[in-house]
């Protein structure tokens, strides 16, 4: 078969790919390893061309070549073999184990490729297959459980989940703790990990500690996740993937279903109440709406409807299609990929769609190489947003619907006979369907990134490279929140929500970032024994952003949302930011006989965010690594590879811009500390001093970390590989807004304080446990522990508040703090008084006594995390699973406050709403001793008692231990023979599920302990803003041809 390709790409680069064609024939054969087992997935190419193929599951291949052509066989971990085509058409090739096993390069900082043996620190990686197995569109969630020391939290689910990615614990009290994301050598923002198309990722390297990342500068203090996107390879190929996911609510909070609406006093039926302190459900007919003038009223049985709240939610779906076209040879390659997905949420009417497109190409000339990577991302989300007359989350409205009210019959709040707002059951809080229909938020995101890189080889040991990247990012948000009006009023309503007007909000945010690195590299074998690798570079970072928001309330035209039709003042603000940084750095590696390596690096930064005197700061690092298995002949046996490494590093970090002087602001009437009014009042202006003061002479903060690691591989074929790493990092001079006494006139002081220490151990084990002809089983286990401690803060300051969703409201009762001598972050909450053994103290009336101070409840990040990923293959089938286990932490989900208020908590009915002996309690016998309480009953078991119980938030802090089956996938790869007839190179069918099961301690009846009210450092607070946990399951088909 003669084929001729002429592919022309019109870009800044024009090149032509041609195939040589002469007298070709089809050469077939089998490739095996040195044990005689067939090797699937071996790359077979005709040297000097882009003709290529791969061996199939049985190790067989077929390729077009002419006599005299050289076939090159390559496979990861094995020595590349070459074979010259002769007269025979069938060949048999055996690939030997590569003596330099585990010498495939890993991509390290700045895209510099290194062999793992040269590195003094540990590096982990996740390959493309593992990232895309269960078709998650969010790359962050696809990394869970696969790398030790990496903690990824999905802080809120919903159609576009938020994630928090932290390596080796929190180092910074109030600053950023999330890992730096680098794509093809270009430092990107944290959100890029959620947006990038996982199918575009060839491999992901995780540099866990500052040691690995000193070359990136400040942001790398928190570790780096390096993403390398795929390059086009081989002859022109097209890959199509389609998938369909469905998602369901997996766990809804547990509610009591014994007592129904009413109260005042407890046990009295008030059919239109929203709280459940009334009588027991007994099935009698009760009104479930107001009564019309003519006497019509909706009557329903007074008994709970099963899954009344859960049935509000839908089965969501995601449909995703992607196409990737690529090709390449030794000198050039290109890749074009487009991915589109559309998600309908479990919350009815929530919708999210996103599109990513990427084009990358590179071309290598004699001494010069150039490449470019353009990517574009856009998304649109339309979701329900907090609203109503008290601006509450959707969950609140569900909880305020009692279990006997037929929620499914109340969808038509506009005109339904008993569902319309004028007469419906909803007298105190709005109908959840009304909220879902009228309180909407639309978000659009556009991101365009261009990464270019050029490299020139002066000689075979001296080269220079320049990487320049640019990202333009903008978001635009519009809130359309409808109002509540009544067409009429029934005579004598039980109660009525006051009508309110519609409002709208528009917010636009634009940012531009440029990052450039210019690096000179010297890579020279100095003598037989010594090898030198030096990188010297200069980095420039420029960024600017602007945000503008306008709001208007009480709009005059219904369903028309523009601030021009508002009543009252135009609200909003305008914010801009500019930042510049420059760094120069050097990295030096001296290798001795390929088994001993000494590395050192240093970097100096100049930043615009600090004053002139403190603007420049320097930080070095050094390390050593030793490979005994190469150093000592005869050491290798069952132990095939051993490497020990030790490194120490220091990284500096600068503050955010505009933090070097305190300022004044016109109070806006709504922010904390400014609620006393919105200035200007007409023509009367006012400027209040900012509540934050700044310490003069701010310095950068520094993190010093030490790391020791051992990597090993056992058995032929490196069937068992692993690493053990221990680290200790100390972060000092933290740039923190510490809370100071408000009697000073400042609420916070931005200053350098404190020291936090993190210590931990990480163990990774990966094994090919079974390898036979038909069946194989691979298992990976990773275990990580992290101990954090606040060593010091400031003289006289023992504790600082880090955050909490209601921190503005000082009466709230729970907060995340950093306290000297304690792990960080720590949850503190109000509690009852307890004796030395932790038993609750009750008073003479039998009621527990409140403790006036907040008490510590425990840390909110896990003591240890164990992750497991495993793959079984049998002939064409493969089964893949990922699970993880986290424990040693606590959390507080504030949805329980809504449940307690409405009388829906299970614990409120354990004594049948009657007075009871508070479990595990004691009382003072008068002499200062505490005796076990077996007879003093509480003053009540209803509304009054549980309302007071609700003030002690410690009652709701639960163990956050959780085991999750994160991913499960069953794949079937179609036989080569079968699909060849169809013209496909590869066809794979997958059935998969994500977040299928979650096992929690019995005390956690509320939600997923990973949820958090924000992605910030105050971890451990779930709120009513998150949708209940969901599970996804789906099917996908991938075709390559």
């Amino acid at each position: 078969m003669k084929k001729r390709f002429n592919v022309i790409l019109t870009l800044f680069l024009v090149f032509v790919v041609q195939l040589t064609f002469a007298q070709t024939k089809t050469v077939t054969g089998t490739v095996t390893d040195d044990g005689g087992l067939p090797l699937p997935g071996v790359n077979v190419i005709v040297k000097g061309t882009s003709t290529g193929s791969q061996t199939d599951f049985d190790g067989n291949f077929a390729i077009d070549a002419s006599k005299g052509d050289v076939l090159v066989f390559s496979f990861v971990g094995l020595k590349t073999a070459e074979f010259t085509v002769g007269d025979a058409n069938k060949v048999s090739v055996e690939l030997e184990a590569d003596a330099a096993q585990l010498d495939e390069v890993v991509v390290t900082a700045l895209g510099i490729e290194r062999k793992p043996r040269e590195l003094a620190y540990s590096v982990a990686s996740v390959d493309n297959e593992d990232m895309t197995e269960t078709r998650s569109t969010n790359a962050a969630t696809a990394m869970v459980g696969k790398v030790s020391g990496l903690q990824i939290n999905t802080t809120s689910n919903g159609v576009n989940p938020n994630t928090r990615v932290v390596l080796r614990g929190n180092r910074s009290l109030l600053g950023n703790n999330q890992a730096l994301i680098v794509v093809d050598g270009y430092p990107s923002t944290r959100g890029v990990l959620d947006r990038i198309n996982p199918d575009d990722i060839a491999s992901t390297t995780v540099l866990k500690g500052a040691n690995a990342a000193a070359l990136y500068g400040s942001e790398a203090t928190n570790g780096v996740i390096i993403i390398t996107t795929k390059r086009g390879k081989g002859k022109l190929n097209v890959t199509l993937t389609s998938s369909l996911d469905l998602s369901d609510i997996s766990y809804y909070p547990e509610l009591q279903d014994e007592f129904g609406v009413g109260g005042f006093p407890d046990g009295t039926l008030y059919p239109l109440e929203n709280v459940n302190w009334g009588p027991r459900y007994d099935g009698r007919m009760v009104p479930a709406s107001e009564t019309y003038e003519d006497g019509r009223v909706l009557m329903v049985p007074f008994s709970p409807i099963k899954n009344n709240h859960k049935n509000f939610f839908n089965t969501g779906s995601t449909i995703r299609n992607s196409v990737a076209v690529g090709g390449g040879d030794d000198n050039s390659d290109f890749l074009l990929s487009i991915d589109h997905s559309n998600t309908e949420g479990v919350v009815p009417d929530d919708q999210y769609n996103r599109t990513s497109a990427r084009f990358k190409a590179s071309r290598k000339f004699d001494k010069f190489e150039v490449s470019a990577n353009l990517s574009f991302f856009r998304s649109h989300a339309n979701t329900v947003t907090p609203g109503g007359h008290q601006d509450r989350d959707l969950f609140w409205y569900l909880v305020n619907t009692p279990l006997h009210i037929p929620l499914q019959d109340l969808k038509n709040w506009r005109t339904g006979e008993f569902a319309r707002n004028e007469v419906s059951y909803y007298r105190f809080y709005e109908n959840p369907y009304f909220i879902k229909d009228t309180q909407r938020r639309k978000d659009n995101v556009n991101e365009f990134t261009l990464i270019t890189s050029a490299k020139y080889d002066f000689t075979d040991w001296l080269s220079a490279r320049i990487n320049v990247g640019y990202t333009g990012y903008n978001t635009s948000r519009k809130d359309e929140k409808g109002g509540l009006t009544y067409a009429f009023h029934v005579p004598d309503p039980y109660s009525e929500i006051a009508p309110f007007g519609p409002k709208t909000l528009d917010d636009n945010y634009i940012s531009n970032r440029v990052n450039s690195d210019f690096i000179i590299n010297v890579n020279k074998q100095l003598s037989d024994a010594f090898h030198l690798d030096v990188n010297l570079g200069q980095n420039l970072r420029l960024s600017e952003s602007k945000q503008i928001r306008v709001t208007g309330n009480n709009l005059i035209i219904p369903d028309f949302y523009n601030v021009s039709t508002r009543t009252g003042n135009l609200g909003g603000f305008e914010n801009s930011e500019e930042y510049r940084k420059m760094g120069v750095y050097g990295d030096f590696t001296l290798g001795f006989n390929d088994f001993l390596f000494v590395t050192a690096s240093g970097r100096n930064d100049w930043t615009s965010a600090l004053d002139k005197d403190n603007r420049s700061y320097f930080y070095p690092s050094a390390g050593i690594s030793f490979v005994p298995t190469t150093a000592f002949e005869g050491m290798k046996g069952t132990l095939r590879y051993l490497k020990a490494g030790f490194s120490a590093s220091k990284t500096g970090n600068d503050p955010l811009p505009y933090n070097t002087a305190s300022t004044f602001l016109a109070p806006d009437g709504r922010s904390s500390g400014q609620r006393y009014g919105l200035f200007p009042f007409g023509s009367t202006a006012g400027l209040a001093q900012s509540s934050g003061d700044v310490s003069p002479g701010l310095k950068p903060e520094f993190t010093t970390s030490l790391e020791a690691s051992v990597e090993f591989a056992f058995f032929k074929g490196d069937r068992l590989r692993g690493s053990v790493t221990a680290y200790k990092s100390n972060s000092t001079d933290q740039l923190v807004d510490i809370n100071v006494s408000q009697t000073s006139g400042a609420e916070t002081l931005y200053t350098n304080i404190g020291e936090i220490e993190n210590r931990g151990l990480e163990v990774d084990l990966n094994g090919g446990i079974i390898r036979t002809n038909d069946f194989s089983w691979d298992l990976g286990i990773n275990y990580s522990t992290n101990d954090s401690e606040v060593l010091s803060l400031l003289d006289g300051v023992d504790e600082i508040e880090v955050g909490g969703p209601y921190l503005d409201n000082s009466g709230y009762g729970a907060a995340i703090v950093a306290q000297v001598g304690q792990p960080y972050p720590l949850l503190k909450a109000t509690d009852y008084l307890r004796d030395a053994q932790g038993r609750v103290i009750v008073g003479a009336d039998g009621d527990p006594i409140a403790n006036p101070n907040l008490t510590s409840q425990g840390k909110t990040t896990p003591d240890y995390i164990v992750g497991m990923n495993t793959r079984f293959s049998y002939k064409n089938f493969s089964l893949y699973a990922v699970a993880d286990y986290r424990t040693g932490h606590v959390f507080y989900n504030t949805i329980v406050d809504a449940l307690e208020f409405t009388g829906l908590t299970e614990h409120s009915v354990t004594s049948g709403r009657q007075p009871f002996v508070y479990p595990n309690s004691v009382y003072d016998d008068g002499s200062g001793n505490y005796v076990a309480n077996t007879n003093r009953l509480t003053t009540g078991g209803g509304n009054n008692f549980w309302d007071a119980y609700n003030n002690q938030k410690a009652n709701y802090v639960t163990d956050a231990t959780v085991v999750k089956l994160r991913e499960l996938s069953l794949g079937y790869t179609f036989d080569q023979g079968l699909i060849d007839n169809l013209g496909f190179q590869d066809l794979k069918l997958n059935v998969y599920g994500r977040n299928l099961f979650m096992w929690r301690p019995s005390s956690n009846v509320y939600s997923d302990p990973e949820f958090n009210y924000s992605t910030g450092n105050a971890v451990g607070f779930g709120t009513q803003a998150q949708t209940p946990p969901t599970r996804q399951y789906g099917i996908s088909l991938t075709a390559k041809f």
Partner: protein
Amino acid sequence: MKSIKSIIKNSIMVIAATAITASCSDDFFDVNDNPNEPSVSTPSLTLTAAQQSFTYLNATSMNYLGNYIVYNWATPSNWSANQDLFRYQIDNTFYANIFEDSYGITFRDLAYVKGVEDASGAVDYSAYDAIVETIKGFQYQHLVDLYGDIPFSEASQRGSNTTPKYDDAETIYKATIDSLTSAASLALDLPLNAENPGSADIIFGGDMGHWAQFANTIKLRMLVRLSNTGQDAYIKDQIALIDANGAGYITSDVSTNPGYSQNLYQQSPFYGYVGYNEAGEELDRHDFTVATDYLISLLQENNDPRIDLLFNTPTKGGDHKGAPQLIGLPGTGFTSGDLSKVGEGLLKSPEQDQPIMLLAEALFLQAEAVQRGYIDGDAKDLYEMGIAASFDYLGAEGAEDYYAQPLENVSWEASSNKIEAIITQKWLALNGVSGIESWIELTRTGYPANLPIPVDSDGKRPVRLLYPSSEYSTNANNVPAQTAAEAFTNNPFWK
């Protein structure tokens, strides 16, 4: 090929050169001036902000808390609110904003205004200083009354002193009395080049004579507060200083108005807190703040026409009705529609002036001072003028007929205990306006007598608030330790 090589070589050199030159310019990094918030202000701009925050705190949180403790208001059965007020659940998060916002917002801005000086000496800011000292006097008095020992001499230095020490209560009182004396004198005797705040002063519009009167009145209030401490000689000496400056006491209500309007966050503070929102709709708080049964019966027994201005009749119809302060109110007959809510005498309009100190209060203070022999005057006359001023403020009529009735604590002659009558009438006059002052006076005098205590509490009325938890976590070495019981047992120093 050769030309490409040299192009590349040249490009690399250009890039290297640019890189190096970019590092040399210091101006390159000079982009850290905040474009979103100015780093400078003027005394007039910040004085206005301080006066508004001071007014707001007094009109909302302090006023609301006080009204509940002196048993003016309750909460209906269909609302879950104010339980902490009925349980007297005083801990160190309870109304912590009274302490925190006084220092953290108002004193902060006042300290800035006081500290501004014109380096060239061309402009003098003494007028501002006099105003600052007067407002500080007013607020520090309340803080000492509510908290006892508090930071004073080391306060408001921002980053320079983040852990101010706590000073003795009585020392602060006396120091404040002295600074009010000098503030009044300064206000009346300003340097020629003193800048007058003009319309930036949203309380008196730059009328310094009124400021002197206000300073004198606050000072009188502080002196009368010392009535139980056996320091009558000191009190009389200080009164002599008041008389010496000749400004006298206030002759009309002291109130703030920067230009309140019916806009979000711009309404008159009390109106926007307990009344109606910017769309004219009833606020939740208006629905859950209702009259107590005790107050309604008292007003009815005394035929007090102010009842219709202090409260609206219930929306479901019928005569005025109040409820006891009780968490477990019955669901029928005690919903918000069945009870009297805060009325139009107090909630006049979103643009209304926000009173800080009523003329009625000043008159009752003078009546008591005369009665105790501190100042000369006609106690009965001042008493009756006080009642009339209250009627006037609320828009009620018939003050003379009211205090002509021969009832205890209504008519001067018929009242066996004149001090009790003065304080009881003051409690009625301050209803809904200066609740915190009524509570403090109740602690000092025990009047009005027989005020009920909510059943859900432990039976004792609180006499102070506790230091906020923020102080314990940020100023632990200075803030005194307290137990929860102290809120009920540790009386202010002047008791």
